[in-house]
């Protein structure tokens, strides 16, 4: 099918974009970034905004800045660019680990990291990454901007704190602390599809290689990414003797999966437990290796 008609705006820079958005945002204006989620919705007529503000000419936002504190990704940085960024991978490897699971390489050439966050699909990988790491999104409007923490940014399925008229200009992913590792494990019906269940994990070890911090973020099992702190459940022991079964139980208790055509709620709960152990162990092993190097 084809999209219904809309007024098209193609601002040349950020100032102009914020002006246009201030005007058409309250009137049902939407931002068009990579279009890899929005255009399918338009083609299927599940969305019919009166205005589209195309930000693809805002090349000033096509940035990936990796510093000691973390990685700041601009609104026009495509998935593929961030995935291939060596400096970003060195500062926060979970970004690349997650991006390899997002759709197919060709979709990643257009889709943007920030667009995926604003889209806030509860099955998407990047919102889980932002939530797990405690990152944030910077929202700009004409005359000001605000930095919204991940915990406040995701407000419901396909709903974020970005208000009409606001442009998400960048997202910040905090750096991996020392002696830490990360992993992302998921199961999808077909390679490249949204996952039936998926778990991102981050583990930090103490100086004696015991688990000091361990958190997971689960996708497809709640209205927003479900973050669970499992450090206590793991029992403060090294990877080889940690109580992974208790960690999995803690995760299964916290999630609220629903049944759909792809999987029952029980199966999703079981799968999430299995994936949590896989991701946590992978992250712990990476953390131990990190210490060795």
């Amino acid at each position: 099918m084809k999209p219904s008609p809309f007024d098209y705006h193609a601002p040349a820079d950020l100032d102009e974009a914020l002006d246009v958005l201030a005007r058409v945002g309250p009137d049902g204006g939407k931002v068009l970034a990579g279009g890899q989620s929005l255009i399918p919705l338009l083609n299927m007529r599940l969305a019919a905004p009166a205005h589209l503000v195309d930000i693809n000419r805002l090349t000033e936002l096509a940035t990936v800045e990796a510093g000691p504190g973390g990685v700041r990704v601009g609104a026009l940085a495509r998935h593929a660019t961030v995935e291939r960024s060596t400096p970003a991978a060195a500062v926060q490897p979970l970004l690349g680990q997650a991006l390899r699971l997002v759709a197919h390489p060709v979709i990643r050439n257009r889709g943007t990291v920030v667009g995926s966050l604003v889209h806030a699909d509860p099955s998407a990988e990047l919102p889980a990454v932002l939530a797990l790491l405690g990152g944030s999104v910077r929202l700009a409007h004409r005359g000001g901007e605000r930095e919204v923490a991940a915990a406040e940014f995701f407000t419901g399925p396909m709903e974020s704190a970005a208000a009409p008229g606001e442009l998400a200009v960048s997202a910040f992913f905090p750096a991996r602390p020392p002696r830490s590792g990360t992993a992302f494990c998921e199961v999808a019906r077909r390679h490249g599809d949204y996952a039936m269940a998926g778990v991102a994990a981050a583990v930090t070890l103490d100086e004696d290689f015991r688990i000091a911090a361990a958190r997971v973020a689960c996708v497809s099992v709640g209205p927003i990414p479900v973050v669970v702190d499992v450090a206590d459940a793991c029992g403060g022991r090294p990877e080889a003797s940690a109580d992974w079964a208790a960690a999995a139980a803690a995760v299964r208790d916290r999630i609220e999966p629903e049944a759909d055509i792809h999987a029952t709620a029980d199966y999703r709960r079981h799968l999430t437990g299995v994936l949590a152990v896989r991701a946590l162990r992978g992250a712990a092993v990476e953390a131990a290796g990190e210490e060795g190097t």
Binding site: K2, G35, I39, P40, L52, P105, V106, I107, H191
Partner: protein, 167 residues
């Protein structure tokens, strides 16, 4: 409202005036008459509409023609040489029976052409990953995978020949 746009398609500057909602796939097919680009699903899943945007493979059904204004597009019509000599990927698909009905082929060819430019000697696993976003309902994929490896060989031979010729 209609928008005047200028695209460089297969090396030729083309102009069109399109409504904002015109998908790039429809612009290529309807406005520019290049029907080699096929349209299957219009939601990014089948890959039949894949074209090269400034050399990178993208879904032309998930992009507005107005967004592509000022950019370079290569479609399946632009893969062969000016004299009609087929590209390595095209020759390999023909040789290895990498197509039956041909509906998916333009998308595969564009995807594979860009892939082999980045990875001239891929493993089986890398080939499968590269074409994982393209659906084919006829071949069962095995001959497509063979064709990608064969295309890599042909590309290497063509390059060697060119270097030989340059000497």
């Amino acid at each position: 409202m209609n928008h005047p746009i200028t695209l460089t398609v297969n090396g030729v500057v083309r102009e069109a005036t399109v409504p904002a909602r015109r998908l790039l796939s429809d612009c290529l097919r309807h406005d520019l008459g290049l029907t080699g680009t096929h349209v299957g699903c219009e939601h990014g899943v089948c890959g039949a509409c894949t074209v090269l945007l400034d050399g990178e493979p993208v879904r032309s059904c998930l992009m507005f023609a107005a967004t592509a204004d000022g950019h370079e597009i290569t479609t399946v019509e632009g893969l062969a040489a000016a004299d009609g000599t087929l590209s390595p990927a095209q020759r390999a698909f023909a040789e290895c029976h990498g197509l039956q009905c041909g509906f998916c082929t333009p998308g595969f060819l564009c995807t594979v052409t860009a892939f082999l430019r980045e990875n001239a000697a891929p493993t089986d696993e890398e080939v499968v990953e590269a074409i994982s976003g393209n659906l084919c309902r006829c071949t069962g994929y095995q001959n497509i995978i063979k064709a990608v490896h064969r295309a890599a060989e042909l590309q290497a031979e063509t390059r060697a020949d060119k270097e030989e010729g340059a000497r």
